[in-house]
Symmetry: C2
Subunit: 253 residues, 2 copies
DNA sequence: TATCATTATGTCAAATTAACATAATAATAA
DNA sequence: TTATTATTATGTTAATTTGACATAATGATA
């Protein structure tokens, strides 16, 4: 979210003609029960939700800030994090409507005049996350991507753009497995792709394409437990992935 | 570039733990004599070059700032502008080596402690540009993309990333024509693609693919003047392009 | 009117994609 | 123990797209 900096000292540029505030917002995505989930925070004493986020420290790079925020909210590190866009509309942050909702937490005159925010999305393994609120919030919770309420700031828009970026990147790079545990079955991976892309895929074609990439390694073991044929387990194979990257493939011959 | 704000009032966050400075850098690309060109500025009294850019005004959105900077340096508006990345390394901006080079222009203690910069690239029609320096610079000039000197800040890196983004976008969307005049021939377009992608393309396959997109409109007239067969002129067709966009096309069936 | 440089164009083989149905099997119920 | 159920694993064929390839046409100039 873009609110954690609201206790910071008075905005710098009070006398400057230039804006000076930058925050970072994180669209943390998980996959659970065949549904994409996003981690949201509820602000103290309100029913208002927003994305996790906050300002960037002077001694850390923007990427490091994204890692830090992710770590603080989920307990996870070494996670796939992708910067996807800077959101720079003039009125995205400092709006009376928002200040009114949060006035018991922040005196309206303490707000920065403006804050621009850089969006990152993270792909995490759902059960590994320990959702943790920050100083301004009292609840940190997964929300189904189709059940998200109206959020503070421009965070509904941010999530929308994050998903569009994810879909595009997913068509280029096999990053889907990052939302799954280390070992997963092909049907699980397929359901994940279907969820993100929003349409069904043919299992035979999916398998051919996915295995054809040569980046998945089939294990000896199968996943047992269902009342049906036990599926093979797979793991992502970093070696093969690197080999694939060198090839490259695009629009023109 | 990230230097225009150096005369702004003292950095805000002097007492804040959070960074507060944001600038914008613009990779303005043109195409001339079968070469990609980028517009660079030479700083007053130095041989140091950088990208055009500057801080963002409080009353303008980040996109608007990009338009403004582009307009100021080239005289052009309504141009293809694409945000491609935020550059947020801690030491990208405030480095002794840079301050030393520009100390006759800016007192070293006047520099912001840190500035993060958002990169945009612009695709312009080369002959339409009127290169214009800003307050800190005395020369504004096109440079061949392969002849760029060592630039201030992280601008060499910025250009590299801009080109990578452009190549990727070019494989998705037929944006190449934006670097050409309103009317152009297929061989011209092909040479442009070859230049950006860095490899030769087969003219028959290129034509088939490009015309197959249905977004080019062949004019009656041909371009005369060369000692050879006169090529047809084409124009981009916005109608067809929109139709194409709705289709979508990706990795999975 | 011959020459030169460049443009315009078509075919075929190979690779990729889309569409489609059935046999295998782990768990559970009968 | 056997049958049932739900799900997984897998192969073929036609359609489409891609890659590789060479020649005839023509505007300007000599």
């Amino acid at each position: 979210m873009s609110g954690k900096n609201i206790t910071a000292k008075q905005p710098a540029g009070k006398s400057s003609p230039f804006l000076s505030e930058l925050t970072l917002d994180c669209v943390i995505l998980g996959f659970h029960e065949d549904q994409l989930k996003v981690l949201l925070l509820r602000w103290r004493g309100t029913q208002e939700w927003s994305l996790p986020g906050g300002p960037i420290r002077k001694e850390e790079s923007v990427d490091q800030a994204a890692c830090r925020i992710l770590k603080e909210r989920t307990g996870l590190k070494d996670i796939f994090l992708q910067q996807f866009q800077l959101f720079g509309d003039v009125e995205r942050y400092n709006r009376n409507e928002i200040k009114e909702k949060l006035k018991h937490l922040v005196e309206p005159e303490k707000w920065f005049e403006r804050a621009v925010s850089v969006g990152y999305y993270a792909l995490v393994d759902y059960p590994k996350v320990a959702p943790t609120p920050d100083a301004f919030t009292e609840e940190c919770q997964w929300w189904g991507i189709d059940e998200i309420p109206s959020l503070l700031f421009d965070h509904n828009h941010l999530i929308k753009i994050a998903l569009e970026s994810l879909r595009i990147q997913l068509s280029w790079q096999p990053i889907g497995y990052k939302l799954l545990p280390e070992q997963f079955t092909l049907p699980e991976l397929q359901r994940l792709y279907e969820t993100i892309l929003g349409r069904t895929l043919d299992p035979r074609n999916f398998q051919r394409k996915m295995l054809g990439l040569g980046i998945l390694y089939r294990l000896e073991t199968r996943r047992k437990g269902g009342a049906h044929k036990a599926p093979y387990l797979y793991r992502f194979n970093k070696q093969h992935y690197k080999a694939m990257l060198t090839k490259g493939s695009l629009f023109f011959s």
